[in-house]
Symmetry: C2
Subunit: 500 residues, 2 copies
Amino acid sequence: MASAFDTLNERIRDVADLRHAADLVEWDERVCMPNGGAPTHGEMQGTVRRLAHEKFTAAEVGDLLGRAQDELRSADPDARDARLLAVTARDYRKATQVPAAYVAEHAHVVSAAQHAWGDARQANDFAAFQPHLEKVIALKRQYVGFFPGSVHPYDVLLDDYEPGMTTADVQAVFDVVRPKQVALLKAIAARPAVDDAVLRQPFPESTLLQFSVEVASAFGFDWTRGRQDKSTHPFATAIGCDDVRITTRFMDRYPLSLLFGTLHETGHALYEQGVGRAHHRTQLEGGASLGVHESQSRLWENLVGRSRPFWEHFYPLLQARLPEPLRGVSLDHFYRAINKVEPSLIRVEADEATYNLHVMLRVELEIALVEGRLDAAGLPAAWNRLMEEYLGVRPPDDASGVLQDIHWSAGLLGYFATYTLGNLISAQLWERFGAAHPARDADIGRGDFSTLLSWLRSEVHEHGRMFEPQELVRRATGSPVDPAPYLRYLEGKFGEIYGL
Amino acid sequence: MASAFDTLNERIRDVADLRHAADLVEWDERVCMPNGGAPTHGEMQGTVRRLAHEKFTAAEVGDLLGRAQDELRSADPDARDARLLAVTARDYRKATQVPAAYVAEHAHVVSAAQHAWGDARQANDFAAFQPHLEKVIALKRQYVGFFPGSVHPYDVLLDDYEPGMTTADVQAVFDVVRPKQVALLKAIAARPAVDDAVLRQPFPESTLLQFSVEVASAFGFDWTRGRQDKSTHPFATAIGCDDVRITTRFMDRYPLSLLFGTLHETGHALYEQGVGRAHHRTQLEGGASLGVHESQSRLWENLVGRSRPFWEHFYPLLQARLPEPLRGVSLDHFYRAINKVEPSLIRVEADEATYNLHVMLRVELEIALVEGRLDAAGLPAAWNRLMEEYLGVRPPDDASGVLQDIHWSAGLLGYFATYTLGNLISAQLWERFGAAHPARDADIGRGDFSTLLSWLRSEVHEHGRMFEPQELVRRATGSPVDPAPYLRYLEGKFGEIYGL
């Protein structure tokens, strides 16, 4: 007779297949779908996701979980089966704690809110978005109520993206990062600006695309298990570990974003392609958290892709492809241009030295909203005050201020912190890898990324969702999430560039 | 309280969404999927199709059908709701008559058989495929047993592709077509061969692709509700009526097949785009049968796309695009070249005057296999004998004979007849439309297809699966499937080309 554990896993495989199908439908929607297909795609998406949820939250799954826990009672809690069962039980508990009526209302509210947000941003009219945002915030506070016993209400929201991470953890880390990064920015602002006019030239899209593909290949992207396309907003999606897709886009305004966007998404994709095959079609497939995922994308985009050793190898190749725009531009000039620091209004265009400040501002506002210390009406003023305080710039309007991100309209409160956690973790991994492999920079300078990738594979990728992020980071680096390596990295890199 | 009929329709919408998702996964597999994703796609495909089947065949659906039949007892049987209910009940009856264990075994056997067929064809080794074919035939005979009461066992297989059509119907029609088409072919063979060397020149793929898209647009393909891609074998797929996708391919050996293939798939796509929106997410969505579907693809590919009026409009445009290969080639020369008749070994390369003979040979062999008059071991000899009899050519080996088609290895017995039924129906529609619209050829000669398309829309497309093929054809043309118009068409067209 099959064990309850085996029967449970068989059930979950159906759920995983439905999720894969829904993810593929979503990819198609963003890459292939003709416009007229939108309603049909919405129907498919809704039905397939609903059925996956129904199958996962069925009472029978709860029964099987209970019986499987009895079966594995004496197993080593760190062994793979025990971890799989624990993670499945955690996910089941969370999924069943939220009433179906709430899920339906949430879907309804955020659908309208996203639409209103798009219009409001276009019209620079926060007041038109405010009632929608109020509904979203009310729903989030209601959501918190489904999980009694959390120390801080925001813990509940964070936990959906960063399992096990608390508001106190995040605040402790951010309180260290913020003043140091504000001080660094002030020091940089006092130095002569870097000239990056060279990057604003007309680079041909096809050349950059081919070059990006070559770099992604050098990083180790497996094209037999993945592909790249164009889309309005770059993203990565995994239909399991064997079909991992990335997208990119071309912007006349900043052509090289095609390259850096590709490297970023390649980082996400390398993670998914590296998840252990044993986790396929279980609750352990995919990345440990959004923060850990972001650590991989930022590591390949910035710590590798905006480093001097990387360009020592790749700059001559790029120059050969783009002789006109890069004629007479030295490696040092190019390196400084792609690392120019400049406080700006828009998060997604921010450089490494300012990005976290955009994030911390949002997290601070979110916590205040969830605690009830701030309401939607007070957001624009609070936003502008913090922009001034952290970045020294003040948005001329709400469109380039509080209305710039889609996240809140989509109900994604608790999400932003993961961007900065990703940066911090990327530097922890980077430093640890460098300590263990002194040839790190020399290897990269030769275009050899194999040691780095196989270290990330064994320390991070292959575990999938086996460990919560704090534990994963501790196992890989010897410490939980720690801001010191990232601050050392920033101060070292920009200290050299700006002669601080 | 919701009626049983409404509740039933709500249930079916979930089934339709799952089928749409499975169809999209299949499209992706053939167009986008990286090779490594094949196992994951197989899992998704299997699970989503199984869940669609489970949901459709659930006992509750049977209960709802019974109660809805009570509710609609006094409705006009031709009204839309009554037709919907009748078709849903028919589909339910058929789907529930086949045991799940059979479906699983069938999937298993044809998966192995298709693999073995690929190898056997490659190696020209029928004996290696024979045991697999024997299993497929045994399964088909077992399948027939699930539907007691059919007049002829082959009726059961036919009915899956051509609802309501019987073996006697098909044989009566084929018995008229076969001798006439054999005689026509003999008469053509006695005339000087047409010179089609002009078609074997190197036409650039991109030019043909662009030209094909222009013709498809002129036919009325709606690109806001569809797209075209490349794939190994051309096909059309519909994710409902608002997302209809076609594919094409380029072959150096016969470049214009890209164009004719596109016109063929556009015919299928126009049908799907024209299915009434009221049928969306019901058992009435999609085409009435494979034969009716093929009538649309063959009509646009051949009756329009290989006609003289069509090329009177489009030949100057093609010549302007391809001045080198078509320099000095007259319209008449080109028209005769694309309509060259030549008995050949391979069905998919057959011209209009020989295609049906390939089909009828297969149908005759299938009926003998199902009746038990022929066994797998006897197939190659029987195949070669009929090729000689119908087409006057004898395959030099089984790879270009009995092993050429994938259908039998895929379990698709009963399918081939639909190709010829499609040809016959296309000519019936064509003749009827011409009688009602005497300007038919003049319109086409001006590149105007709007009257033709709107006639097909109202006579065929918009009904979806409301009527069985014989009834649909009778409603549109005044007669059930009838071979006379197609024979008149063939004799007229090739009589003129070959001076018979």
